[in-house]
């Protein structure tokens, strides 16, 4: 009789642990699944030119080509490969980060629209070439 009384709380604990772990696993699974859906692929300009699809967002990384211009609130610039010449045009609306210059490395989330890539508002990040921080808009 003593055996069964001691079994129960032990079993209860086991069950609790099992339930908690299952819940945790399910939540983690949901998290992991949605992260793959919600992510934007990182591409450089040559990859983007080759394989971009309209309606998907991409994270474009590359260097700013000299000769960009401001049209009111929109900045029109080209981004080229870090080591190469292939470049894509970007139209970006929003505040431009302080270190934004020709030759600087940038990261910007873009959507393909026709032949041009439209930058997502405020997603432009410029990396500083030297030791410390870069700044985003």
């Amino acid at each position: 009789m003593e055996q069964s009384a001691r079994m129960d709380p032990h079993r209860k604990r086991r069950l609790r642990l099992f339930a908690a772990l299952t819940a945790a696993l399910l939540l983690a699974g949901a998290l992991i699944y949605t992260s793959f859906g919600a992510a934007s692929e990182a591409k450089n300009p040559s990859q983007l030119a080759a394989s971009a699809v309209a309606g998907r967002s991409y994270q474009l990384t590359g260097k700013v080509v000299p000769g960009y211009r401001h049209e009111g609130n929109v900045v029109v610039f080209r981004v080229r490969d870090r080591a190469g010449a292939a470049s894509v045009p970007v139209r970006y609306t929003g505040a431009v980060p302080d270190p934004f210059r020709a030759g600087r490395e940038v990261i910007v989330t873009v959507w393909k629209r026709g032949a041009v890539f439209v930058g997502e508002k405020d997603s432009l990040v410029t990396k500083c070439p030297s030791k410390f921080s870069a700044r985003r808009s």
Binding site: A28, F36, A95, P99
Partner: protein, 714 residues
């Protein structure tokens, strides 16, 4: 002096290596003299590193450009305060700061435990010295701050303009203090596991360090966020950037640890969990240090890809695998003494608290490392943005806030359901009242999560007030003191409990600030010419005139904005943008200022109810023709003539300014975030302060008799 510094560092490395060997040998053979020698090695390590630190600092303060580091990070024109702090704006200097702080805390903890923990302390010393040796080796071989500059330049490159802010100078030392303080419980946990003496003693010795680490790290993170809000031109305080996340993760596990060690102390429960948690916190702290310098993740903060990535990865791997191996092999020593008696107890609240905190850490970890994970899985680097982070952290934060209100009301071991219900009635009513009241107010119901957070915070505040009230009354019933005296005496006698309640209150205030500013922010981007106005919420922003200023470092162009509300003047804001000259010799004397670094000076009006944030972006493109003209006509101008040219440009900007772009943000309750952080800091300090020791108050002989009869005093 360079040689003094360099030999100090080399000596430090040798001392650290010796110390590891001596401590381990002493621990193994039980010979006290080797253990003591190992401890003295730690003290001398701290002394030698202090020498190196002082030498480097002195070089910065003197602007000694024979030091390569000083030449590349400071200049004669840098203000003295920033000269002192420029040391840790560099890779090498920050590493030296890290290992110096490590040596200081190690000395402190080994001094405090010199007569106790005879078996665990030497192993802990070995772990701490091992870490110190790693960092010392990095500094000596890969990132030596004592390099000679050849040739010695007459002027330095100057400090990165973004860093010229007091907050940015305190931010790294605070963060590093947090990281290095966390290595102390890490080392003692490892030592306790290695020697299989995993009882409450090591926790008692290092709990203060864990709490101090938590405080420093938390305050450091908040200062960084505040700097971002009030100094940077993007108008935000948190971007879920990998490096930001890397500092948050050990803080989260540290919070979980602070709660769960109470369970191990009282009931001998959760030993495996605690050991794993504190070891994970140590690993995450080093991971945070690593992420800033490695460049493996696209980050705003990255020092850029450097050669240090690989050694750090090695250290992290060793720490991680070592921790896992230790915990699994010492499982027998970690068997729980107590058991969870009831789901309705403070113990189970703590378990939930830990689950939520670790869950938060996991979410952030996953999102931060997702680019690497997705590359491993799909071959394609992809990253998740702030919306993804918000989606998962906000509900978890909400649950956390609710728990922090519920926990204090539930008793240890087994709570009485009826009493708990009675205790919760008041706070729940307050929360409901808040929810109803806020829904009636404009537009809050449109953001259900924010509304939930507000009522959750009201709940927590009510619980804290109730706890203080009840405790005060309980004390008064016995001691018949006045209310104020009773309150103070109560708090002082129960520092941990009431300090903790204050921390919960502070966190609730902080979360209210975050919820309000994130959900109810208004952003307007406008283009204005002088004389024009814009409107944001109930404010009228009038662009009065353009401004300009010159200093020997930068050209500043800005605007004067007049803020009014219902016709009444509220504030005058002066956002500006400063342009620092580039060192590129190919650029013209005027143009080089507009192709170098630029920083924004935000026009901020902080208020308890709402912050008004403005930033200006002058249209340089429209000035380009004049800039190019000046460069063409005077290509070799320097010094005074360069100054005159810039003055001409500045005057033109002030007289005939082209339309400038403004970003206007009205953000409610942002200041509550810093306010909440301050309350957390005060509560934490109060809890940390050494209070009455319970055993010392009792005489040993009659103790047993007294235990049998008298209840203790509140």
């Amino acid at each position: 002096m360079l040689n003094v510094g360099r030999s100090a560092l080399t000596l430090a490395l040798l001392i650290a290596v010796y110390g590891v060997a001596a401590s381990l040998y002493g621990a193994r053979t039980g010979r006290r003299q080797w253990v003591d020698s190992g401890r003295r090695a730690v003290y001398s390590l701290a002394a030698v590193l202090t020498v190196a630190f002082v030498v480097l600092e002195a070089a910065f303060l003197r602007s000694d450009f024979s030091f390569q580091l000083v030449a590349s990070h400071s200049s004669t024109t840098t203000p003295s305060f920033y000269k002192g702090a420029a040391m840790w704006s560099s890779q090498e200097g920050s590493l030296l700061l890290w290992v110096w702080l490590l040596s200081m805390w190690s000395s402190l903890v080994l001094f405090l435990t010199r007569r106790r923990l005879r078996e665990v302390a030497p192993c802990a010393a070995a772990v701490l010295l091992g870490l110190a040796a790693f960092f010392a080796a990095l500094v000596v071989f890969l990132a030596n701050p004592f390099q000679l500059a050849t040739p010695v330049p007459a002027e330095g490159s100057g400090l990165q303009p973004l860093l010229r802010h007091p907050s940015m100078m305190i931010h790294p030392p605070l963060l590093y203090s947090g990281y290095t303080l966390f290595t102390v419980p890490f080392a003692f946990a490892a030592g306790a596991l290695i020697t299989r003496r995993a009882d409450a003693e090591w926790i008692r010795a290092t709990r203060g360090f864990a709490l101090a680490a938590w405080l420093f790290l938390g305050v450091g993170i908040l200062i960084g966020a505040r700097w971002s809000w009030s100094e940077l031109g993007w108008g935000g305080y948190w971007a879920w950037d990998p490096v930001e996340n890397a500092s948050l993760m050990p803080w989260l596990t540290g919070t979980a640890f602070i709660h769960s060690i109470m369970m191990q102390e009282k009931r001998g429960m959760m030993k495996v969990w605690n050991a794993s948690l504190v070891l994970a916190t140590g690993v995450l702290a080093v991971l945070g240090t690593f992420l800033v310098r490695s460049g493996i993740l696209e980050s705003i903060h990255a020092f850029g890809g450097s050669t240090l990535g690989l050694p750090f990865l090695g250290l992290i791997a060793v720490m991680m695998f070592g921790s896992v191996a230790l915990v699994s092999s010492r499982r027998a020593a970690l068997r729980s003494e107590g058991r969870l008696e009831s789901l309705f107890s403070r113990e189970s609240m703590f378990v939930l608290n830990n689950a939520v905190l670790v869950g938060l850490c996991f979410v952030i970890f996953w999102g931060t490392f997702f680019p690497l994970i997705s590359e491993a899985v799909t071959g394609q680097r992809a990253s998740v943005g702030p919306p993804w982070f918000d989606r998962y952290t906000v509900p978890l934060a909400l649950v956390l806030v609710l728990l922090s209100g519920l926990g204090p009301v539930i008793a240890w071991r087994r709570a009485t359901a009826r009493n708990a219900r009675r205790s919760l009635r008041g706070p729940l009513a307050v929360a409901a009242l808040a929810a109803v009241g806020l829904t009636a107010a404009a537009g809050v119901a449109a953001r259900p999560l924010a509304l939930a957070m507000f009522s959750g915070a009201a709940f927590v505040a009510a619980v804290v007030v109730q706890e203080f009230w009840r405790g005060m009354r309980a004390r008064q019933a016995v001691s018949h003191e006045s209310a104020a005296v009773a309150l103070v005496a109560l708090a002082r006698r129960n520092r941990r409990r009431y300090g903790g309640y204050v921390v919960h209150l502070g966190m609730a205030v902080l979360f209210v600030g975050i919820a309000a500013s994130a959900s109810f922010q208004t952003i307007h981007d406008v283009r204005l010419s002088p004389g024009q106005s814009a409107r944001i919420e109930s404010y009228d922003i009038h662009y009065v005139r353009a401004t300009s200023a010159l200093s020997n470092e930068k050209v500043t162009l800005g605007a004067i904005l007049d803020v009014s509300r219902d016709g009444r003047h509220v504030a005058t804001l002066a956002p500006t943008r400063g342009y620092y000259q580039s060192q590129d010799p190919q650029l013209g004397p005027v143009g080089r200022y507009f192709d170098g670094e630029a920083t924004s000076e935000v026009g901020l009006r902080a208020g308890l109810r709402r912050d008004l944030w403005t930033a200006v972006q002058p249209d340089i493109g429209a000035m380009q023709k004049m800039i190019d003209g000046l460069d063409r006509r005077f290509p070799l101008a320097t010094g005074r003539s360069q100054g005159l040219l810039l003055a001409a440009l500045a005057a033109r900007y002030e007289a005939q300014p082209p339309p400038a772009s403004f970003r206007l943000i009205a953000s409610p309750l942002v200041e509550w975030i810093w306010l909440g952080g301050g309350i957390v800091g005060l509560g934490g300090l109060f809890a940390l302060w050494p209070g009455a020791s319970f055993s010392r108050r009792r005489a040993p002989a009659p103790a047993r008799a007294r235990l049998g009869r008298q209840p203790s005093r509140a």
